[in-house]
Symmetry: C2
Subunit: 280 residues, 2 copies
């Protein structure tokens, strides 16, 4: 048995064995509980969107190299795949996109709506990134990302990041996980003069890294998503600000399994650490 036990891992796609599944679920329940404890409601997004919806977030400008797209087959001329792949001309249409991040579902959920200035939701999704190489559970083609998304006033979005940064730090300490918190570049803000200037004034993304791997991040989007999805606040009708806290679940599984030698042992430690953290 390797470090992944009986999990099947091929081409960046993992089928997790029972011990790794239990660990992933316990982590997800822990992060979800943190969010619910401070009043978040959970919503449930699909792992597939209309290309036109994802385009609103500039994903095909900023992440064309990571983006996977999908569509139905042309049945009339379908002759099956050849050597493990279909020819592009066997597709009837390519109008669907697989998301690179979970939080898109939150902005689309609130699209065209007015929200309170202190809105908080949590959601988990399957995400997809066509990386140029894959590496165990550290870098997968398809993985799970839990997010906690704040919408409303700028102060609220910043408070949420501060609060959950504190939770992540305490949880890492309780798990004896050595981490560094690093400012990172957010590809959403890499292009365009105004946004680049904004980033120069204030880091918009911080990553929590363990073993050189980002296992969580906190992200400020100003009103980028509020604008793209026409989300307004009920205070003055202005565009909502947003921020998000993201947890790469398989990455947590990976670093904890390394830290504790097995997923089973890591699960015990997660349960112990989660119960030690003070409630909100």
């Amino acid at each position: 048995m390797n470090a992944l036990g009986d999990s099947r891992l091929e081409g960046g796609l993992a089928i997790l064995d029972p011990d790794h599944t239990a660990l992933l679920k316990a982590l997800d329940e822990t992060f979800t509980r943190w969010a619910l404890d401070v009043g978040a409601r959970e919503i449930c997004p699909p792992p597939l969107y209309a290309v036109a919806d994802l385009k609103k977030f500039d994903v095909y400008v900023n992440f064309p190299h990571l983006s996977l797209v999908a569509g139905p087959l042309q049945v009339t001329r379908n002759l099956g795949p050849d050597d493990g792949r279909f020819r592009p001309d066997q597709l009837a249409s390519v109008n669907l996109g697989l998301p690179t991040a979970t939080c898109f579902g939150a902005y689309l959920f609130f699209e065209g709506r007015q929200v309170s200035t202190a809105t908080l939701v949590t959601l988990v999704n399957r995400c997809f990134r066509g990386e140029d190489h894959f590496d165990g559970l550290r870098r997968l083609l398809s993985f799970q990302m839990r997010e906690i998304v704040a919408l409303g006033s700028y102060v609220h979005t910043q408070y949420i990041l501060t609060y959950f940064s504190g939770k992540i730090e305490k949880f890492c300490h309780a798990l004896s996980l050595k981490f560094v918190k690093e400012a990172a570049t957010d590809p959403f803000f890499e292009r365009g003069g105004a946004r680049a200037l904004l980033q120069g004034m204030q880091a918009v993304k911080h990553e929590f890294q363990v073993d050189d791997l980002a296992i969580a991040s906190v992200n400020t989007h100003r009103n980028f998503f509020g604008e793209r999805c026409r989300i307004t606040t009920d205070s003055d009708g202005g565009l909502a600000f947003t921020s998000c806290v993201a947890f790469g679940l398989e990455r947590w599984v990976s670093v904890l399994t390394n830290r504790y030698g097995s997923a089973e042992r890591a699960l015990e430690e997660v349960r112990r650490a989660a119960s030690q953290l003070p409630p909100a």
Copy 2:
């Protein structure tokens, strides 16, 4: 507010609001608990496979009209989507397939392995079907299917179907859901003389239908999947038999919300009914 509350539903893709999300999660936890209570272990599959893996199950022979396929973009010539879709020749490769059912992950998990004669796993996945029309939560492009999959001896696979059929019937009674149990055709066995003959001798699929909608099914595959994935049993090294019990989670949400007028009320009823059922 419509019957789906604030859920966003477009093009067969749903973002469930908090009440519908809570109901779906409670249902999934109930079915999972039933499986764990009789010794199942949970595994976690990806919502995307190599086309070559799905081809093993004849999906591109039996379900080409329902199948969605995916791949990365050709970045060098990427000019973004036009009118909500990419041209097929903008794809670099089409080597990935989105699954139409959850249980494929179980057979791939055990591919090439030997299992005990009474193996039981449970798993949930996002599934995808390119239907010719969509209808609320009754018929979605992307939905969640919980499955309980038995592998091993033929007797074991049949016992599991009988056992969970009983659980489903009791649960429906406790929820005051009127259902019919109908023999149905299984597309895996529609083609080919031997399989058609087999189906003539014995119904291989039964559906539990509420409001003319199949919300659960029990399925016998003989050793079709055992053969395709070279899964053998530890008794005599012969090919494993398999069977599965499938729950369409959004469909349960749909019929229960209709039955009780709101997802919130339906959630209370699910909790009550689940606690009334005798343990295994």
